[in-house]
Every structure is written in C-alpha cells, then in structure tokens.
Amino acid sequence: MTMAEPAVNPLRTGMRLNRAADPCAVVVFGATGDLTARKLMPALYNLARERLLPGGFSVVGFARRDWTDEQFRAAMKEGVTKFSREPLQEELWESFARGLHYVSGTFDDAQAYAKLAERLAKQDIAHGAAGNRLFYLATPPDAYAMIAQRLGEAQLATPQAGNWTRLVVEKPFGRDLTSARALDQSIGNVFRERYIYRIDHYLGKETVQNIMVFRFGNGIFEPVWNRRYVDNVQVSVAETVGVEGRGGYYEESGALRDMVQNHLMQVLALVAMEPVASFRGDAVRDEKAKVFHAVKAIEDVGRDTVRAQYSAGAIMGAMVPGYREEQGVAPDSHTETYAAIKLEVENWRWSGVPFYLRVGKRLPKRATEVAITFKTAPLQLFRQMGGDNPTPNLLVLRIQPDEGISLRFGAKVPGTRSDVRPVNMDFRYGSSFGVEPPEAYERLLLDAMLGDSTLFTRWDGVEAAWELLTPVLDGWADGASPIKQYEAGSWGPDAARELIERDGREWHRM
C-alpha cells in the first residue's frame, strides 16, 4: 500500500520534528520478559515524559503469565524505577500507566489473538489509537514465525485504510542463512518488507550514528577515506563480562552469531559505504547493502578466522571461571566467546584494504572502537635525517565507553634533533557535550512509530551478512580453525595475533 505524504502542519515549521508520531498502540510480545522491563518500558516512559509520544498512545503487553492490567503496570513500574535513565516521577508514571494494558496468552493460541484484536479495538475507542499498530517481538527468536502467522490469521497484520501496521523484530534474525531465509519467508507471508523493522540497537547509539556525521558532515576526511590512504580498518568489541547467567542462550549462539553477523557488520558497513545524497527513504540502507555485497567470500576459514573460548583467569583483580565452567554451558562446549575475522571489501574504494573484526568476552576492558590506520608517508624523510621513523596516522572512533574520536600524528620533539614522537588529538563527547543522550531504544522505538526505517536493518543486508558468515560457521563445524582457549583477562588467543601479524600488522591497542 502506498501512503500519501501526510498534510504539512504549519505550526511545525522550525521545530526539530516535522511531525509527532501518529496515535498508536504498541503491542509487546514477551511483555513479562527481561527486555521489556529493562529496555522497552523505560524507553517508552522516557519518550512520554519528554513529550515525544502522541495523545492516543497505548501499550498492550502480551505474554503467557496470567496477569491483570494492574499486575502488568506494577511490574513495569518496577522495571522503569530500576532501569530508566531518568528517575520515575509518580504523576508522570500515573499518566503513562493509564495507557498500559495486558492480554494473557501463549504465542500459538489463536484464541488469545482474537482476545488481543478485541482489546485493541476497544483501545482505539478509549485512547484514540486510530487503528495504528506497532507489534514488537521481544520474545525468543523461535517464536517469531508463529507470532507473525497468528497475527495474520487474526487479521491484525493488515492495516485498515489510512492506518499502519509495523512489526519490530529483535536480533538474532536466524541462526544461519537457511534459517534466516525460512524466517524471512514466514514473516514475509504476513508482513511486507517495508513494514518489518529489524532492530539492531547498535544503530541507535549516538556514536554509531556519528560515524556518518564524521564522514559526511566534514569535508576533510572523505578524500582520504579510501585504498590510496588507508592501510587497514579494525572494528573491535571487547567485553569484560562473561555470559552473565545466559549460558544456555549463548551456547546456541556464540560470538559470531551474537555480535559479528549484526553489530560488527553494521559498523563495518557504515565505515565502508559510499556517501548518500540524502537521508530520504532507503538511501542509507541501499549503500550499506552494496558494501555487504562487495565483501569477498572467505575462501580459507582456517586462515582468515579465529575462534576461541575464555578459560579461568582474572578480570580487574577478581578471579572468574572459564566459559566451560559457566552455568548452562556444556563441559565440552565448542561455542566461541571470541572471534576474529579478516574481510576484504572488493570495490574501487577499498580493494586491497583488509578489514579486521574482533569481538570477545572476558577481555581486560570494555571498549568498542573502529581504528583506521593510514599508510605511512611515501618518503621516510626523518629517518634519513637521523630521526625516528614516524608511526602511521591512526584515527580511532570510540563507540563505547568514553565515546569520542582521536587522531594520532607525528610531532617533532623539541630540540636540535629531528626526533618525531606520536601524539594524539583527542575529542571526547563527555567533555564537549554535557547533555545526556537518549538510550538507543528510545531513538529506535520513536523512529519505528514515525515510520523511519533508516536505522533498522533490511532483509538484503541481513541475508548478505549470513551469506558471508554461514560458510565460516560451516567451516568451524567441519573443524577448520579449531577452537582455541584464552585466559580471561587477556586480549584473546595467540592465533588472533598471528592472524593479523601474518599481514605485517598488529591489533590496535585498546
């Protein structure tokens, strides 16, 4: 269905948002789960308190537990009290909570969906939700297809004329290429691609969005952002935490599925993509898709990938158990908690420039960074004059924590010799902007309500990432790149160091 552009509101001229979200009902499947209490409800509450939700907004929680509206409200209040970035204010909560409702049912129970439809129809009248629906799947992934099917059968997936219906799906979207395609088909039978919002909360982070601002909002970086000047790109995600009691989930997932296929590939795409002419429609997602399609297939999984598990060790002075000793983890588990991959983007801009991705749990510090190492100057002039050899320029985009950007360059050490020492030019968000940014889920939920899918992943991007990484999973299953061990609190296995040192490079020190 093609929707006409809504009428222009003259009172909006000069305002940041050119319209508020339409009145709507957000239906959260898995409403009694951790994600709802920790992330979704605090995000919705903060959007409401900051006046970004429309009149006629309501939430319907859907889950198996036999709760009443009041019980749901009480549980959500507890979640918001605990996890909201802004403290809960009683009067604001009361106003927000009036729009919270609950429907009990299992995800496969057709009767429960009839009940849900009835409840939504009532709410359209009570809250003026105008028939607009945002279905949010905060459930285990194996329930996605069933919920989509039942929504279709209950006629809830098809909007009435002039209204909209959207589906928000959490990661992971499939376990591999085959399962992702099957899931896409199941959901696609009910919802058209343009109404499916696959959430990757990394894309809601301010500093990830700033990669685009940094590249395309400044004139000086884009001219050197290519194979002629860049030696290599590294995307690193280091976590100090282990599996945090989610051993059962992690056993089925692993670092490659949990982080690389989605978060790291999305960051890679933002670093490597071509400039967009505008942010309208699908422009950004089109460019990202081109990057995914330009990534060369990994031919030698044993050579270009490393997987490993942490063994017992010390993190920040405290002893921690090894992965295989964690609750819910098999003693002979082969699930990786660390992955490193070398990729190449085969296009005119990046041909010959390696992209190294690494992610690991139980590393010495928590940090997410993109490090771009530039080629050294063509003439080593200062070495000839008896000075040191300048280290290459390095640009680091720090995504978390201590968000910022630093640029390393060589400077002359004061004195009669021509000694060159690397120095850093450092920008830190926390120093320059004393304003608290919204949580990633606030931005993404609001965008979904506004119908802006720029920061959500599209099927062709998801499929291309799986096409690239499924052979790695298959290769690992067949014994290529046997799983290594690394001590908790170290920077990963020796094999990861060897992967990059083979190319005459080294991992950026985080």
Partner: protein, 364 residues
C-alpha cells in the same frame, strides 16, 4: 556518554586591572599552575564558542554567573561579561576558570571567564577589550542582559560580529519597544536574535503543534475558532509571542484588537473565517503562561502548566469524549534556555515572524 559532573571548581577569582594581553598571560599562568598542581589528573581547556554578556551592573553579574555555573558543561566557552556601571570609573577585570570533572576518564574540563567592569566614560575601552579577548574562529554569541538596549556602543560593536544575540523581552518594562529593538537589530546587523521569552514557549508550541499533525490535524486547523492564552500577570511578552506565533504560522490577518492592563482581545481572519485571540492576564506577579486553549468547531485542546509539580497537562475534549496526559515541563532557567537555543537555533526565523505579529497586535 559521559556527562556526569562531579564538581565545579573556580581556579582564580580576584579583581585585576590589566590589558587583554595581560589577561591572556594570566590565563596561561593559571593553566600552568593547574597542570603542575594536579599532575595525576588531566585538565583540558575547552572552548567551542565565545559567550559574551553585556548589561548594567545591578543585576547582570549575578545572573550571568548563574548561567556560567552550568552552560559551559554543555557548551564549553570562553565567556566575557561586560558591565557598564554609572558609578564606576576606569576598567577593572577579574578572571576565573570553571572546571568540572567528567565521569569518563575522570579528567577536569575547564572553561574560562573574564568579567570586565567599566564606567560610562570607558565604554569604548570596554568594547575594544572584549573584542580583543574573543577566541578567533569560534562563534560569537552575545547575551544582552536586562532591558533590551541594543544600541549602546558596547552592544552595537559586539552585535555587529555576533552569530546569535540573546535578549529577554520579559525583562523589558515596555514589551513593544523591546520587540521592536530586537527586530531592528536583526534587520540592521543581519544577525539571528533569540528571545529567551520566545524559547521558554518551545514546549508549549511543540505540544500545541501535536494537535494539528497529519491529515486529521489539517482538518482541525481549518476548523479553528478561538485561541485563549492565560498568564499570571499583565499581558506579557510570552503571551504576545505565543499569539504572534499563531498569527504568523497560520497566516491570519488582524482585523482589530482591544486591550487593557491585563487583557487583549483580537479578531483575526483567514479568508472568510474569523478566529478570536484572547490574552488574559491575572493579578499575580509572575507573567509566565499558565494555560493555552485552542477551540475548533468540534473540539477543545488545552495545555496547562502546573507550577508546583513542574508538569504539564494536555487535554483533548471532544463531544462525549476526552483524553488527557501529563508530561514533564522543561527547565526554564536562563542557562537551560540558552543551552537549548545553542543546540538548535532552527526556530529563530520563526521568532522574527512571531515578533512582528506581536508588535502588530500592540499597534492596533
């Protein structure tokens, strides 16, 4: 992102008489001493703008200092306050640095502040000193504190090179004159003018605009019949600017207006449709808006501020139906309002049109 501020320190604050070059030297000395004293902690001197205040001594310094307690944490700056005091002769200056610690990295971030005081005879010296102290290549934002006097020598010199000029027409004894002065400065110097009274309306404007979003909203706008703006005291610049905003954004023509000390009623036209605009003051001192009612032929939309709770109530009344919600008010202190305006100045051209319409309302 690290915005946690764990403390504010003033490194130096004593009156000194000196030239711009001596002031710069004094800052250099402070930074060197700071670095030597806190060898285990990094200090960063950060400036993303020049922020200059101009005003009479009686209330300028305290108000400017209050803003400087928090504005630099959001918009690090070199700030200069230029005070002209009738009782004073000669030029006196004091310098200080505001520092705070960010959570990430635990480093100190510091902004610099210079306060210059001069008598009427030293206005030229004062202006030239301020100009010499501006950090090159950074935006210059000027806040004319107190009554909106934009044609003094110091103000004129600074406005000439400013990016944004801040005024607060709520401070002016004659609102019409203040609005006219702001409009003249905008035209004469081609500078963006930001009235803090206007910016305090941002949350009201945003909530009211929500009623009229989308196709249904467009229909409601075409049914608009009456706008009623209520405040605590006399008809204030905020009430006038809110009225002016409706008039200018909706393209309404003013047919007639009647006013007394505490109210103003205007008849407006859009083609053949008549719209009544009422500004209603009250007996209280505070002039801030307390309620805006917008009536269409089908419904009534009401936004109210609740001073005690700091919340706003939004109500939609339809025949046989109603909806209401409570949202947070935004802080309206000077520092927050200035910081917000520096974050997003996209509504400043809209202010000019609203101010012109407000002046028209008073002219009739």
């Amino acid at each position: 992102m690290a915005s946690d501020v764990t403390g504010l320190e003033r490194l130096e604050d004593r009156p000194i008489t000196m030239s711009p070059a001596a002031i710069e030297e004094e800052f250099t000395r402070i930074w060197k001493e700071t670095a030597a004293a806190g060898a285990d902690e990094a200090s960063v001197r950060l400036r993303t703008q020049n922020f200059v205040g101009v005003g009479p001594e009686t209330w300028t310094v305290e108000r400017f200092e209050r803003v400087m307690e928090s504005l630099p944490q959001r918009h690090p700056c070199r700030s200069v306050l230029a005070v002209i005091s009738p009782e004073r002769s000669g030029l006196e200056s004091s310098i200080s640095a505001h520092c705070w610690r960010t959570a990430a990295g635990g480093r100190h971030v510091c902004s610099e502040e210079v306060i210059l005081k001069a008598g009427p005879a030293d206005e030229h010296a004062l202006a030239s000193t301020v100009l010499a102290l501006l950090v090159p290549e950074l935006p210059l934002n000027v806040w004319v504190i107190g009554p909106v006097v934009l044609d003094s020598h110091v103000a004129s010199e600074l406005i000439e090179g400013a990016d944004i000029v801040f005024v607060d027409t709520a401070d002016a004894p004659d609102v019409a004159a203040a609005l006219r002065a702001a409009l003249i400065a905008h035209r004469k110097h081609n500078v963006a003018v930001c009235d803090l009274a206007w910016r305090r309306l941002a949350v009201w404007r945003s909530l009211i605009a929500q009623f009229f979003d989308g196709d249904d909203g467009a229909r409601r706008l075409s049914q608009l019949r009456a706008i009623e703006i209520t405040g605590g005291g006399a008809v204030s610049s905020e009430m006038l600017l809110m009225g002016g905003w409706f008039i200018s954004r909706l393209g309404l023509s003013l047919a007639e207006a009647e006013r007394d000390n505490t109210s103003l009623t205007a008849t407006l036209y859009d083609g053949s449709r008549g719209v009544t605009l009422t500004l209603k003051g009250g007996p209280e001192q505070a002039a801030a808006i307390t309620e805006v009612k917008v009536r269409t032929s089908e419904a009534e939309f009401i936004v109210q501020a609740h001073a005690e709770s700091g919340h706003m109530h939004v109500r939609e009344e339809w025949p046989g139906d109603s909806d209401h919600r409570t949202v947070a008010q935004v802080p309206t202190d000077d520092a927050s309002v200035v910081a917000e305006a520096l974050d997003d100045a996209s509504d400043l051209p809209i202010f000019i049109e609203a101010a012109e319409a407000a002046v028209d309302l008073l002219r009739n």
